[in-house]
């Protein structure tokens, strides 16, 4: 195959910010009205394009936080130090502002009811975002596949969707295990520190149950967790990963 060039095809859509919800000191959810949104699959992302007053344009990919059943498209964005787009989306955007999107995108890091379970979801930092879409979709589509969520954040106040996860915990078939890697309260009963292989071996759904695994987070986090799960005998064909660079939580 030589070179493929060019093309039209996937167009940018003008959308409007309907609400902004502060999730943590570094992350906000943008609730977005997208005219004629044709729907998405849980786990997909969109490309977001912003244009500065001087005409300079930049685009980034952000995971969709909402379930396909939700009324609006929600994106949860975490501010990256030195970032070009994320500080604007977290701190500089207001209700009523326009935003350009293209998508939904991605056909691999997705979960539909037909894919079944059990599900093992592993999130580092804002890697929780597409997994939250999967958790919501599982409930809203009436699936009863068992799901285990392992979520690593830096500190309690950096746990995105903390109240929602707390409310979900204990629901049928859902287990949530939280790890804090930098600071924890004296009475913290969850994991203190990273998800090392010995911890995954101890708590994660066993490879014998053949879970469908979704790992999302910073590249180093995903590499470490995916390698650990492979060493524990998980089937590489049942591990789906999404890495977004940056530093580990």
């Amino acid at each position: 195959v030589a070179r493929a060039a060019v093309s039209r095809g996937l167009s940018w859509r003008e959308a409007t910010v309907a609400d902004v919800v502060r999730e943590t000191p570094r992350a906000s959810s943008l609730i977005i009205d997208v005219p004629d949104w044709a729907g998405h699959r849980a786990g997909q992302h969109v490309d977001v394009r912003v244009t500065a007053a001087d005409g300079y344009r930049a685009q980034r990919s952000y995971s969709i936080a909402s379930a396909p059943e939700d009324e609006h498209v929600a994106l949860t964005v975490e501010r990256l130090p030195g970032g070009e787009v994320s500080p604007f989306l977290v701190d500089g955007i207001s209700v009523g502002d326009p935003v350009e999107l293209r998508g939904p995108l991605g056909g691999w890091f997705v979960w539909d009811q037909e894919l079944g379970g059990p599900l093992l979801l592993v999130a580092g930092g804002s890697g929780i975002v597409p997994l939250r879409a999967i958790l919501r979709h599982r409930v809203l589509c009436g699936s009863d596949v068992p799901v285990q969520l392992l979520y690593s954040a830096r500190a309690v106040d950096e746990i995105i969707y903390r109240e929602e996860l707390r409310a979900l915990e204990g629901a049928d078939g859902l287990t949530i295990l939280l790890a804090l890697t930098r600071r924890w309260p004296a009475d913290w009963t969850g994991r203190r520190g990273r998800f090392h292989q010995s911890y995954l071996d101890e708590v994660a759904t066993s490879a014998l149950e053949r879970p469908l695994v979704y790992v999302c987070g910073p590249t180093g986090f995903v590499e470490a967790v995916a390698d650990g799960l492979l060493d524990l005998g998980h089937d590489p064909d049942r591990i789906r990963t999404e890495r977004f660079g940056g530093t580990s939580p």
Partner: protein, 94 residues
């Protein structure tokens, strides 16, 4: 684990690939022309630079795809990929 990693994965180029090939590509399996390892596009290593995107084989790190965008146009060099046939639905008019 604490090292910053300067690459992301192939999920990040779903948009530009869709724009060029007019079909979702990240679940497609492709083989490296250098070492013949076959991986899904979602699992390739993506390095974003000022002038474009270089996509490398996670096994031997050879360049598999180079994407250069200017405005609404994107040029994709796929010479680092072995393909026996065009992926599903790729437009044949290019």
């Amino acid at each position: 684990v604490n090292q910053p990693s300067n690459w992301v994965d192939g999920n990040a180029i779903a948009g530009v690939l869709f724009a060029v090939f007019r079909v979702e590509m990240t679940a497609e399996a492709v083989s490296c022309a250098a070492c013949a390892t076959t991986r899904r596009i979602a699992d390739l290593e993506v390095f974003t630079h000022a002038h474009g995107v270089v996509v490398r084989c996670p096994s031997c790190h050879a360049s598999m795809l180079v994407i250069v965008s200017r405005g609404e146009m994107a040029c994709v060099d796929v010479s680092g990929i072995l393909m026996s046939s065009a992926p599903r639905g790729v437009a044949s008019d290019s």
